[in-house]
């Protein structure tokens, strides 16, 4: 399963036509203690780099953008009760939504893990 990143620090893991989305460890660290995660509704149609949800920490509230276009088929409800999971496991247990991908060609607009690591060094 390959993992791709956006400049806004979201990741997507692609398996077949399904993409699992979350925010990166770097983003979780920068935001500080996460206090609230707003997830999309199942069935919501999202555009690449369009709004998917939002996340609040003690420092700031930020939008979460969708790395790919598609339809939301599953959300990680557990984060609504336990937002701290984002700080503990941003790139695994704290996945936020699964989307049915509509256009795989959009992957070319994303960064690979290696490219993302290089990008982080420039910030």
């Amino acid at each position: 399963m390959s993992m791709y990143f956006t400049k806004e620090h979201e990741w997507v893991k692609v398996a077949g036509t399904t993409g699992t989305v979350g925010i990166s460890d770097h983003a979780a660290h920068e935001l500080g203690d996460i206090t609230f995660v707003e997830l999309p509704k199942i069935g919501a149609v999202v555009k690449q780099f369009g709004e998917l949800g939002s996340i609040e920490s003690v420092k700031a509230a930020s939008d979460i953008f969708s790395p790919l276009s598609g339809t939301v088929i599953k959300v990680n409800d557990a984060l609504e009760i336990a937002p701290e999971v984002v700080n503990e496991s941003a790139e695994d247990a704290a996945w936020m939504a699964q989307i049915e991908i509509t256009d795989e060609a959009e992957l070319k607009n994303l960064m690979t893990q290696e490219q993302y690591n290089d990008y982080l060094k420039t910030l």
Binding site: E30, D33, T35, E56, V58, A60, A61, S62, P83, E84
Partner: protein, 482 residues
């Protein structure tokens, strides 16, 4: 310190009323009567006075200490303004709304009318409504006026977007979203203002308004503001001026002269009235001629004989936005403030506010990272990134300042600056006060290197130590503990 409920002694009371010697009014229905006592604290009047006096002494205010909270303009609120507001206390706001009531209220309506005229002059607008009750309410009113303007031109469906820079106050996109618009956020360029090229790309016929704070939340005046206005107008998008930072430009620039069509003014920031827990706010909204038909009602207008009347039957109006005439007492104070200082005085206010902020900037820039190193306006934004190398965050410096008797600056805003520390001294502070503050800020920077733990432990001198903000935000259970 005990809670007032913990001091309660059964049977003790502050007031003993005589037994009624007239028949009691008809009893309330059984369903509305209490089944058990209200559970109020039973204390004497003296117990009560001591309790609340002691509690108030733990309060932090601009009357007790320096309060450099960025973007909030925590200037000293002159006590004489309270006297001005008290002059109006005998008048009931309903009088003016009764048939023919205007006749009896020429003085009170005159104060509101004159305040509107003065604010229109200061901001370069054609008319001002004084109804909105606070800044965000003013924004909401302003955006509704924008929407009414586009709807009247038959463009309601076409105008879908409001453009904001990423340094904007969070209330800007929030107000626009509540009014039904989608938000386009434009990033900040390295020169510290909305990126002009990206702004041009974001603009189209579908944009209803561009909301700007100028100077922005980095304390910087946008050198391209006229060009931005012209571009916006070429798409029939209106320019909205967030007046939060008006304290920087009075008598220097009128927003109306650089292309703004709508503005809200925070009387409790720029015009010396208390804010926060100290009293209600007030957010008058000024507009250019084209938007006057949509202003809230009742609108105070002057007839040819110089008599003030209330216009209440305008079909284009967005309606009433507040009871009666808004927060009248706040407006009376702001009116007195403007009259007291006069044109020259207000110019001096802005000059001194800008000078003070630049003084702090120059004195502290060797000790804290200054991401946008240029002449600032009324506030300056540092970053605690140097201190972060020692594990010290902006929040730790903020808590340390509390121990030293200073209200912390605004931290973590604007969000585009990492570990932001936003300092706004205002014009009412002396050089000596600022020098003492600067010294403590330098001490904090040195402590970050020599003993970071001391900053993590702060505050140590307060009635309560560091609060667990994460726990407070995650577990929002507010209930009575007694």
């Amino acid at each position: 310190m005990q809670l007032i409920y913990e001091q309660s002694t059964p049977g003790r009371r502050g007031v003993k009323l005589p037994k009624t010697d007239v028949p009691a009014a008809s009893a309330l229905p059984e369903s509305l009567l209490r089944k058990e006592r209200a559970g109020l604290a039973e204390v004497s009047e003296l117990d009560l006075v001591r309790h609340f006096t002691n509690l108030s002494r733990r309060n932090f205010s601009v009357d007790t200490n320096f309060y450099p909270l960025g973007s909030c303009t925590m200037k000293y609120n002159a006590k004489v303004l309270e006297n001005a507001a008290a002059l109006f206390a005998p008048f009931h706001p309903m009088t003016a709304l009764l048939p023919g009531g205007e006749e009896f209220c020429q003085g009170t309506l005159g104060m509101l009318y004159d305040l509107g005229q003065l604010l229109a002059d200061i901001t370069g607008m054609d008319e001002v409504t004084t109804q909105p009750l606070a800044g965000a309410h003013g924004e909401m009113t302003g955006i509704m006026l924008v929407a009414a303007y586009h709807a009247a031109k038959g463009n309601k469906a076409k105008k879908k977007y409001v453009v904001v820079p990423d340094s904007s106050h969070g209330t800007n996109p929030a107000s626009a979203a509540i009014a039904g618009y989608e938000i386009i956020t434009v990033p900040t360029a390295p020169y510290g203002d909305m990126d002009l090229e990206l702004f041009k790309k974001a603009m189209s016929d579908e944009v209803a308004a561009v909301m700007m704070t100028c100077p922005n939340t980095l304390g910087l005046f946008n050198p391209h503001i006229k060009e931005i206005s012209d571009i916006a107008h070429s798409f029939d998008a209106l320019m909205y001026y967030d007046g939060a930072n008006l304290n920087a430009i009075m008598g220097k620039v009128k927003p109306g002269d650089i292309g703004f069509d709508v503005i809200h003014v925070n009387l409790h920031k720029t015009f010396g009235t208390p804010h926060g827990g100290g009293g209600p706010g007030s957010g008058p909204v000024g507009v250019k001629k084209a938007l006057i038909p949509f202003l809230p009602q009742p609108r105070i207008v002057m007839d040819s004989a110089g008599k003030l009347l209330l216009e209440t039957a305008n079909p284009g109006t967005i309606g009433r936005t507040a009871n009666f005439f808004g927060n009248f007492g706040v407006m009376a104070k702001a009116y007195a403030y403007i009259i007291m200082l006069g044109r020259e005085g207000l110019i001096q206010v802005s000059e001194q506010a800008v000078l003070n902020a630049n003084y702090i900037k120059e004195k502290l820039k060797g000790h804290y990272d200054l991401p946008y190193d240029m002449t600032c306006m009324h506030e300056v934004v540092f970053s605690a990134s140097k201190q972060l190398e020692h594990g010290v965050h902006a929040i730790d410096i903020a808590k340390f300042l509390i121990d030293r008797g200073y209200h912390p600056p605004t931290v973590y805003f604007p969000m585009i600056v990492k570990e932001a520390i936003m300092i706004e001294p205002t014009e009412t502070e002396s050089k000596a006060t600022m020098d003492a503050f600067i010294e403590v800020m330098i001490e904090a920077a040195q402590t970050a290197e020599s003993n970071p733990q001391a900053l993590h432990d702060a505050p140590l001198t307060m009635p309560i130590s560091r609060l667990d903000e994460t726990k407070a935000a995650r577990e929002q259970n507010v209930c009575c503990a007694w």
